[in-house]
Structures are given as C-alpha cells and as structure tokens.
C-alpha cells in the first residue's frame, strides 16, 4: 500500500525531474556540473523552506497566501533593525525574524480559528496588510547593500562543508519536517484534521488549534526566509518576493499535496519545489525566455493536479465478490 502510494506520486515526480535534468544535460552538460547543481539547490532553498510550511497549512484544509508578504515585512524589519543597530548578532536577528513571522502566522491562525473566516480570505487580507505595513514603516524607501552590516549580509552565503548556509538551513528544516510529520502527534493531527475534520473533533483533536499551529509554522518559516532573502540579495524594499506565494502553493500542488487537505508528504513538497527551481534555472541556460517559466509552471500545476485527481479517484465500493478476492 505505502509502496504503491510512493509509486503513484513521489516516484513519478522524481522521475519527471530526472528526465528534465537529463534532457537539459544532453544539450548543456554544464548544467549538471556539481557546482551548478549546488547553485540550483541554493537558489531553490527559500522555495523549499516555504513550501514545507505551506504544506502543513494545506494539509489542514487551509491555505496561506500571506507567506511572501510576511517574508517581505520581516525582511524589511530586520534590515531596518540592522541599519539602526549594526552590532546586533545574526543569531539574535534570526530569532527576531522567526518570532515576528510566527506572530504574523498566529494572527492568520487566530482569524481562521476564532472568527471562523475562510482561510483564503484571511490570508488574502493579511497579505495586503503586511505589504502595506512595509510601505508605512519604510516610507517606500529601499534599504541597500551599503546600509547593511557585513555580518548581516555574509551569513547566508558563508560556505560550510561545500554548501552555503542557506542550503544547510533548508536541509535542517527538511529534517525537522521529516520528524514533525512522521514522528509527532502534531504531525499526525495535521493529517487527521485535513482528512476528516469531524472525526478529528471526536478523537479529541482541536481542529482550530491545529490549523493555527500550521499557520504559526508557516509564518515562522516565512519570517526566517525573510531574513535570509534580504541578506542574500542585500536589498529590502516593499515589493520583494512579490507573487512568490503562488510559486510556493504551486510547489505544493505539483508535489502532490492535496488542496482538499489530508494528503501530502515532505518528499512531495521538496520535489515540487525542486521541479520549479530546476525549470527556473534551466530556462536561461537553454536560451528560452524566462517569461516561458510562468507558462511552464502553470502547465506543470495542471498536469500534476490532473494526475493526482485520477490517482486519487476512489474506485467505488467493492460489491462484486470476485472483485473483493482480486484485490
């Protein structure tokens, strides 16, 4: 059973990625050079981190459209903090970023939980609010590289054991999620709440609280990514990562996380993000206009959803005796 599930989703996606990489490599061997692959992974790291956060939200039948705005607001706040207090150590900045992101996630979660507002409406609203706040606090000004301290900018780019810190953080988050999803009661609760909210209530799981927890996780990761993003690109302004939330949701959907909740895996989210990351990085190499990227991502979403819809289609009830023996 588990075997066949892997077969139907993650394996197929992994195959598709390998075929894609193979096709690119056949014409541009440089693309598969280890150094380039490290680059591609590093480039995709923020998407991986956010897709994992989004995954738990989607598992609970919600959606978080405010991730990119959260990222941008946190990025702006820590960048401004850095210009005011250049000596603030990076670990403390990261704690502040995660904390601020969590608070924004909590706000989403409370609106969904306590006021029972549909998640898409809540996060569409907070998305705009968070972007608006960036404008208010920055006055629409950019914070440029020369205003940031060196330590602030260097951290995500520092190379440890051959990989930049940004990549290592994505890997740590990934490991954290494998444990969270597979080995904790909260991870199990995400599936129960999304798979059957009524049954979850009768099992003693607090559905609203679980959804709120998912939003906090998503928000915390958006906050963390906010610092990493601003530091890596050494710039902060109102519109950074504009529209990135759609890419995050797309990665989840391509990775087989059911938008109806209750179905998904860490591996799926990772592969979905990698697929988009590879497409994005390969297009300039193969000399296709980056504008095609949108069309390709869009097609991938539709293909993935169509594929999942057919594989999830229930086969109906087994009524015939012979069919029962056959399965």
């Amino acid at each position: 059973m588990i075997h066949s599930l892997i077969k139907s989703r993650e394996t197929v996606l992994a195959m598709a990625i390998l075929v894609l990489v193979g096709a690119i490599a056949s014409r541009f061997p440089a693309f598969v050079a280890p150094a380039n692959l490290v680059n591609v992974f590093n480039d995709t790291a923020p998407l991986i981190i956010l897709a994992l956060g989004q995954m738990v939200v989607i598992l609970t039948r919600c959606i978080d459209l405010s991730v990119a705005a959260n990222l941008a607001l946190t990025g702006m706040v820590v960048a401004m903090l850095n210009t005011l207090l250049p000596d603030l150590p990076v670990p403390l900045i990261m704690v502040i970023a995660i904390g601020l992101g969590s608070v924004m996630g909590l706000f989403n979660g409370l609106l969904v939980w306590k006021l029972d507002i549909p998640p898409i409406v809540v996060t569409l609203g907070t998305m705009t609010i968070y972007r608006g706040i960036i404008f208010v606090i920055s006055g629409g000004e950019w914070i440029n590289a020369h205003e940031m301290s060196d330590a602030f900018k260097a951290f995500p780019r520092d190379v440890v054991f051959g990989l930049p810190v940004l990549s290592w953080i994505a890997i740590l988050v990934l490991i954290g999620f494998i444990v969270l999803i597979g080995r904790t009661a909260l991870g199990r609760a995400f599936f129960a709440v999304g798979g059957n909210p009524h049954a979850a209530v009768y099992t003693g799981i607090n559905v609203g609280l679980t959804q709120c927890a998912a939003y906090i996780i998503s928000g915390a990761l958006a906050g963390l990514t906010g610092y990493l993003w601003v530091a890596r690109y050494a710039v902060a302004y109102v519109d950074i990562a504009g529209g990135f939330e759609l890419e995050v949701v797309a990665a989840c959907v391509i990775g087989g996380i059911s938008i109806a909740g209750g179905i998904g895996s860490v591996g799926g989210a990772l592969l979905g993000a990698l697929f988009l990351g590879i497409v994005k990085n390969a297009l300039p190499v193969v000399n296709i206009s980056p504008f095609w990227q949108l069309a390709i991502s869009g097609s991938a979403i539709i293909i993935a959803v169509a594929f999942n819809a057919t594989s999830n289609r229930t086969k109906g009830r087994v009524i015939l005796k012979k069919a029962e023996h056959a399965t």
Partner: protein, 517 residues
C-alpha cells in the same frame, strides 16, 4: 395479498369526495443488495384527503417516497395516476406527472430569492427567452397569497425560518400544478406555532383537492389531520383504512406487532458499581434536564424518534458541545467535560452515528486511525513510535476480527462493516470505562449486526458501561438492560424488566398519554 390488511376494501365504495384514488400503488417491491426494502406494498391516495403513512424507522417509508418521486425505480409493481399507468424514470418525470414532495429538511436554494426558488426551472420567460422577473414576482406573490403566506417574494430564502421555507416549497409545488403532495415529517423541526400553521396549510391543500401523503411519527397530529392511514412494517403494508375507524392502540400494535426474528446474544448482566451519574444536563435549544445513572456492566438503551435530542445529548456528554446547565459525576467524583479530550481522559468514548463523516479518517492507514486518540500512550518523549502503534492496532483488530489485507492499508478501502470495526477498535484502545454507541448497526448488513451485538455483550461482560442509542426497537429490546426514552429533548420515560415492551417504547416516544386507550 390483502389478507393481512384491515379496512382497505371499504375504502372504495363510500368515499364522498374521492371516489377514485388520485394515485394508487400496487405490488411495489424494491430490493437493495442484501435487503428487501419493500415487498409488494400497496398505497392509495385520494383527492382532497390526507393519508398518513406510519411505521417505524426502516419500515420502508422513505423508500416509497423515493419511488414516488422518481429517485428509485421499483423492481416490481405498478403506479397508477388518474387511471393511467405511469413510470417515473427520473425525478423530472414524477414532477411532470404532478407528484411533489416536501421534505423535513427542505431542499431549496438558500441564496436565491423566494420567487426564484418557486420558479427555478420553469420561470416565466419574455419573448427573447430571458426570465421575466416582473411576471415571476407577480406570480410568486399570487401563489404565496393563495396559501395564506405573508412572505415577501423578493427576500432571499436564507432569511426565512424553517416553517416559511416549507411554505415556499409548497408554493413551488402549486406552481408546477402538483396534484399529489408528499409531506415527509414536515413538523419534525418546527415550533408549536409553526406546526399549527402547517396544519392550516394542509387543510387549504385539501380544500384545493390535492391528494396528500403525510408521513409522521406523531400520533396526535395523525389523528388530527389525517383522513386515512396506511401502516408499513418491515417493508410490508400491514394495514390501511379510515382514521375514524381506528384507535391509537390499534395503530401502535400494527406498527410494532412483529415476530422478533433477530437473535440477540444471551446475557447474564452482572451490574457493578455506579460509574456515571448525570444530573440536570440542559442545553438552550436541544435538550433539557437529562439525568440518569449508569453502572459498570450495564447496557443502557436510549430510544426515541429521530430528532428527539438523543445524539445531541450524547455529543454534549462527550464534550463536542457544551451544556448550559447540569453536572456529571464519574466514580462519584465531580467531573467537568469541556471538550472531547477531557471526556476521553475520563474514560468516556463516543462512537458516532455517521461513520463516514465522524469516524474514519480516510487517507490515514488503518493502524494510524486506531492509534489516533491513543498517541500519548504510544509515544515517548513526544515522539511517536510506529512499532507501538502497530502493536496496538494489531491487538484490537484481532479482537474485533477485522478483515483487512494489511494494517497499513487505507481505511477508505474497507467495507462499511469493517470500517465500523476500526472505529470501535480505535475507542477500545483508549481503555474506556463508558462507551457510547450511537446507532451502532445502522446501515450494516445482518451478519455484521450480529457481530456488533455479540461484541457489545462481551464489552458489558468485561465491566464496561455501555450506552446504546438506537432507533430500532428489536435492537433496543434485545440488547438493553434498561431503556430511557427521549421525546422532544426531554426524558419521557424509563423502562426496565417486564415494562420493557415495544408498545411502551413507541407510546412514550410518540407522546401518547397513558390514560387514553
């Protein structure tokens, strides 16, 4: 075929207004896999008269409604309307033939206006083929006036109460010129005033010459508004005639007078000490002043009509909803249950009625479904241990004789009976003291039913206190040591020992005062 019916033959000759039936069914049979829902039933409806259809749950009342409205096709038998033989391959065909049904939960569109609801599908058109709104509103107003409803046809349906929604449904029935109106427990969820209004409306429809089939469990209203009755029992028509020729006692007898052919496990209950005491549990809208005690080893049945507040009370007891008043004692200690988690902590578990909706988490494998409420026990330092979860699942599924290929199979792939076993296993794994089973055998086949009954007896023998909510009289009688009957949100009666008879249960549930014959 009519040998076991009484009074049907005298229906034809002396009927003043409806000398000929507007609709008659003869020899209608309908089977579903494993169940014969209807067996050669007959039913006649007369213009300008109300025929009450009575019978216990599962007697085949809703099946006949579905056949009359074209949702089911009968396997055998014929439907005759105004002396023409008809068939209803689809619901539209039934509508065209003039049959319309008003359901307990009205099936209309909450966000459309009253006028749009009345005319959806057959709205008056302009010459260009567009909907003629003015004409539609006019006609809607006329129809509403005709049934004496003071409803503005502009407002959206959502703003109306249930009684007014019924009126809209009736206006819709009139708009398609229905001659046969089926009312399926129309007063089940109405207040007293609304019920009176519904009765007036029935009178009006009668005056317009409609033939009305009125399904109800309430004897007072049957005797008040019906002209004729037809009784179904176990998918057969067991009696029909004029209301004035029958007494309540005779009707009850027809409804329940069965030969009990189901076999229930023999039990020698050994009652232990009191584990649960409920005092004065109340809810603002759903139930009031529920109190009882429960001893270990006991099976306490809760009987009542659908909507009597049994499940609502159980949900409050389990902490899904909160009571406004009342207290519970568990092992003679005051206990507070504010959410299901606390109930589970106190050893109370609830196996809900609707397995698909409230029990099984599809998408999770069997073993994870079972371990879901027991994750605290199967994990260490906050980390789940799959091996422990598997062991737990294996132990309890073995006990319940679950038929599954593997425990990591998705629960959605199991049959209904086996899903029920997984849900029960899930709760047993929490080692409860009190288990509430809400309609535990609803919708499962006879064989699985017997297994569930057997198992219930075992649980009680092991000292568990069992509360069983059931609408099936044989099951209540066969399994319970004591039965509480609920009616309209209150405890109507409590029976045990020799008092535990089908007649007593039905009378208490229907609110028939003991003094009347």
């Amino acid at each position: 075929m009519l040998a076991n019916t009484q009074g049907i033959e005298d229906a034809h000759p002396q009927s003043a207004k409806g000398s000929k039936p507007a609709l008659s069914l003869t020899g209608i049979s309908k089977s579903f896999p494993g169940v014969k829902a209807l067996s050669e039933v007959a039913l006649e409806l007369y213009p300008g008269e109300v025929t009450a259809l009575v019978g216990e749950n599962g007697a085949g009342k809703s099946t006949i409604v579905k056949i009359l409205t074209g949702i089911y096709q009968p396997d055998e038998g014929e439907i005759v309307i105004d002396e023409n033989r008809v068939t209803f391959p689809t619901a539209q065909d039934a509508g065209k033939a003039g049959v319309t049904a008003i359901h307990q939960e009205t099936v209309l569109f909450d966000d459309l206006s009253v006028a749009e609801n009345i005319f959806i599908g057959h709205a008056p058109k302009t010459r260009l083929g567009l909907i003629n709104r003015g004409e539609m509103l006019n006609q809607a107003q006329n129809l509403l006036n005709r049934i004496g409803a003071s409803i503005d046809p502009h407002v959206t349906l959502r703003e109306l109460g249930i009684a007014n929604k019924h009126l809209v449904a009736i206006a819709r029935a009139l708009s398609i010129d229905a001659s046969i109106v089926i009312m399926d427990e129309p007063t089940a969820s109405l207040s007293h005033k609304e019920i009176e209004e519904t009765y007036e409306l029935v009178e009006r429809l009668k005056a317009e010459g409609k033939a009305i089939l009125f399904i109800s469990h309430k004897f007072d209203e049957i005797f008040r508004i019906a002209d004729r009755y037809t009784v179904f029992r176990d998918g057969q028509m067991v009696g029909a005639g004029r209301i004035k020729d029958v007494s309540e006692r005779e009707l009850v007898k027809l409804m329940v007078g069965r030969s009990v052919d189901q076999v229930f496990p023999k039990r020698a209950p050994e009652l232990g000490k009191e584990v649960l005491k409920v005092v004065g549990y109340s809810h603002p809208t759903e139930f009031e002043d529920i109190g009882f005690t429960l001893r270990s080893g006991e099976i306490l049945g809760f009987y009542g009509l659908v909507g009597a507040g049994r499940s609502e009370f159980m949900q409050a007891l389990f902490g899904v909803t909160r009571p406004s008043k009342g207290a519970i004692r568990i092992d003679d200690q005051v206990a507070v249950i504010r959410d299901p988690n606390e109930a589970i902590g106190h050893g109370i578990v609830y196996v809900p009625e609707d397995r698909g909706k409230q029990g099984a988490v599809k998408g999770l494998p069997i073993f994870q479904n079972i371990s879901l409420p027991s994750l605290k026990e199967t994990s260490r330092n906050g980390f789940l241990r799959l091996v422990e979860e598997f062991r737990l699942a294996r132990d309890y599924t073995k006990r319940l004789d679950l038929r599954a290929a593997a425990l990591d199979q998705d629960i959605g792939e199991l049959s209904g009976g086996n899903q029920q076993k997984v849900v029960i296993a899930k709760w047993l794994a929490t080692k409860p003291r009190v288990i509430i089973l809400d309609e535990p055998t609803k919708g499962i086949d006879i064989g699985s039913k017997a297994a569930v009954h057997e198992f219930m007896a075992e649980l009680a023998a092991e000292g568990l206190a069992v509360i069983m909510v059931s609408s099936e009289i044989p099951e209540i009688l066969g399994m319970s040591d004591r039965v509480i009957v609920m009616r309209e949100g209150r405890i109507a009666a409590e029976f045990e020992g020799p008092d535990l008879t089908p007649e007593h249960l039905v009378r208490a549930a229907a609110g028939i005062v003991e003094a009347r014959p």
